[in-house]
């Protein structure tokens, strides 16, 4: 399951993109500080809104900030939101989905009810309201909000998968030996959901990056933090499009588009993963088919 997930070319493209931006995020401060020697927040009064040049490879903003340095710093902000939100979302999805699927019955009823509420909740308006209360709290809070509101779909998937694993013979056998429920979940069931959890985490991360960009563009963001969304928002507020300052908004836009493509590619991979595999024909089916064959053979002989 895992190997087929990683060997799909579309999935591999998605993984490469994500890995690239992850590396950019991790090495960001070192790249801008040591390699480029530019502070993404510093205002270079001598170069305001200047197009790409040998000094500023991607030009500068209206405020004289280096766009490349901002892009790298923005990758860090965006990835931070993505990873934190995905972490929160995945943990919640596992807690709700796997627990509901494993225990079934009343537990399932309650947890599934909560999941369904989160599923149908109008997330965007809610995020507006919540972030309205929490104005100016930074990327941290944005990530938590996105994570807390975005786990329901994943919980659904994991619940269904858990239900198909929990009554497999090897789980029954270990339960019969006296293995405890937490251990059965952690050591027997969860390893079989590894591919699902990994792909879910990636999709959630990318989804969160896009969500953060969208929110920043709509003005819900910390003005001090740099992310791709806040870059575009700043460009927009300075009418960069009208004034033809394309180098200001195209690079972060491209990054977002690239991440979006990666998300789509990974989703293809998940689809292929979730396609029901050809189930091995059960004995009963085989027997029935044989019986039909025998009957047909008898028919043709008499005819």
């Amino acid at each position: 399951m895992n190997s087929s997930f990683g060997s799909n070319p579309k999935v591999r493209f998605g993984l490469v993109v994500v890995t690239f931006f992850a590396a950019l995020a991790i090495l960001g401060p070192w790249l801008t500080g040591t390699v480029m020697g530019i502070d993404p927040r510093a205002n270079d009064i001598s170069a305001i809104a200047s197009p790409p040049s040998s000094e500023h490879w991607l030009g500068t903003t209206q405020f004289g900030q280096d766009v490349l340095a901002q892009l790298i710093a923005g990758a860090r902000g965006s990835m931070f939101v993505g990873v934190l939100a995905a972490l929160i979302g995945t943990v919640l999805a596992i807690v709700f989905g796997v627990t509901a699927g494993y225990f079934g019955g009343r537990t399932d009823h309650v947890l599934n009810f909560v999941t369904n509420i989160f599923m149908v909740m109008p997330v965007l308006p809610l995020i507006f309201i919540v972030s309205g209360y929490l104005r100016g709290t930074g990327l941290w809070m944005i990530a938590i909000i996105i994570g807390v509101f975005g786990w329901a779909g994943g919980a659904r998937t994991l619940r269904a998968q858990t239900m198909s694993v929990r009554n497999r013979d090897f789980v029954l056998a270990m339960r019969m030996l006296g293995e405890s429920n937490p251990r059965l979940i952690g050591s027997e069931v969860l390893p079989h959901l590894g591919g699902w959890v990994a792909s879910m985490f990636l999709s959630a991360m990318i989804g969160a990056i896009l969500a953060e960009a969208g929110l920043a563009f709509l003005g819900i963001s910390d003005s001090g933090a740099i992310s791709w969304g806040s870059m575009i928002q700043a460009a927009q507020s300075q009418s960069a499009v009208l004034r033809g300052l394309w180098w200001w908004f195209v690079p972060p836009g491209l990054c977002i588009a690239l991440i979006g493509t990666a998300a789509a590619m990974l989703n293809f991979g998940v689809d292929e993963l979730s396609n029901p595999k050809l189930r091995s024909a059960t004995r009963k089916v085989v027997r029935r088919t044989r019986r039909v064959e025998r009957a047909v053979a008898a028919e043709t002989r008499t005819a």
Binding site: F170, L177, G178, E179, P191, H192, V286, R287
Partner: protein, 366 residues
């Protein structure tokens, strides 16, 4: 009513059975897409006694309730009715399963499904040993794991500890499964067709292993099979199930050698070669039986004796009343009206197909 009588008489009747099912039934409620529910009577009024050092075989065609019976005995399901008794004491509903499973272990049919593909052999044995006795140290557990593997003839045991299930053959896996069950030192081993998915060439060895565990180590065993020859080879007693009910039981030589129920006779006669163990597939085994028609629905089972629609000896009474149990001596019993009306000789008089050919169609239709 006679069918509610207690445990079947057994040759080892004087001692208390290690594990017994007393008049147990299991009904499953199933819902169809429209939401209508119906009741599947998977097992009805079944009784069986397992004694230390003895193997009881349960024989029957697909859907006769063998697996359900084994799972009732393994307490995967609560019986709808009746009792499971361990050492003569009724097992309370919802009582701690852990203590029970230190005594009773079930071997699944499919050795490929009952080992988690992500864990090494070592993990399986180690967890079982640890659960069984928390005080065991790491080195001691390892020593015992090797010992267990060698007990099921996986030698040298050291070589198998670090193998993953996919690196083992079907027979080796089933041995690991048995070793894992033995790790908790159970008194009862329930085998749900433990050899049916293995290569023909190694079935005999597996049967010998089961026989050895029972005879030399005194385990009580239930051996579920569709293969009469393997039942005869390894077991002491045989119980025949048909459509959720037990139709005949007793010492193997009596039941297989001189069947006292038409269904048993059909099974014995359609078993191609009673002396070749484990070489028949389920399809061959029951091809003749199926030629006689579908096994009965367990949602609306036939009235009276459930076998009557397929029985060459059926009388009008068979369709009306359930046959009572007739004891034939030596622990051999059967549920068939022929015994009650003095026609028991007819069962042995002719082959099944000859009897079938003579069957009066009008009588069955009634």
């Amino acid at each position: 009513m006679t069918r509610h009588d207690g445990a079947p008489a057994d040759t080892a009747d004087h001692e208390v059975a290690v594990l017994s099912a007393v008049d147990v039934s299991k009904h499953f409620v199933v819902r169809n897409a429209v939401g209508n529910s119906s009741v599947v009577r998977a097992v009805e009024h079944a009784s069986v006694d397992l004694h230390a050092g003895r193997i009881v075989a349960v024989v029957g065609e697909s859907g006769s309730g063998k697996t359900t019976l084994a799972r009732l005995l393994a307490r995967f399901y609560e019986p709808t009715q009746g009792q499971i008794r361990l050492d003569g004491a009724p097992v309370a509903k919802g009582s701690a399963a852990r203590g029970y499973h230190q005594q009773v272990q079930l071997i699944f049919q499919d050795p490929f499904g009952s080992l988690n593909p992500v864990h090494r052999v070592r993990h399986n044995l180690d967890r079982a040993l640890r659960i069984h006795d928390r005080r065991l140290g790491r080195a001691e557990r390892r020593r015992r794991a090797v010992e267990l593997l060698e007990r099921v003839s996986l030698t040298p045991g050291e070589d198998f500890l670090d193998k993953f299930p996919h690196e083992l053959s079907g027979g080796q896996r089933q041995r690991v499964v048995i070793a894992r069950a033995l790790a908790v030192a159970p008194k009862v081993l329930l085998g749900d067709e433990p050899i049916s998915m293995l290569d023909v060439s190694i079935r005999l060895e597996m049967l010998n292993l089961l026989g050895r565990l029972s005879r030399e180590e005194g385990l009580a065993m239930l051996y579920i099979t569709h293969d009469i020859a393997s039942a005869r080879y390894v077991c002491d007693d045989v119980v025949v199930m048909y459509a959720g009910q037990m139709t005949e039981g007793g010492p193997k030589d009596r039941v297989i050698g001189a069947p006292a129920h038409p269904y048993t006779k059909l099974l014995v006669e359609s078993s191609p070669d009673p002396d070749r163990v484990g070489t028949t597939s389920r399809d061959d085994q029951f091809a003749d039986a199926e030629a006689l028609g579908e096994p009965p629905s367990l949602i609306e089972p036939p009235t009276g004796c459930r076998f009557h629609p397929r029985c060459p000896f059926a009388m009008s009474r068979c369709a009306e009343e359930e046959p009572p149990r007739t004891d034939l001596g030596d622990g051999h019993w059967s549920r068939c009206w022929l015994h009650q009306v003095g026609r028991a000789d007819e069962i042995g008089a002719d082959t099944y197909s000859a009897a079938l050919a003579r069957r009066d169609p009008a009588e069955v239709a009634s």
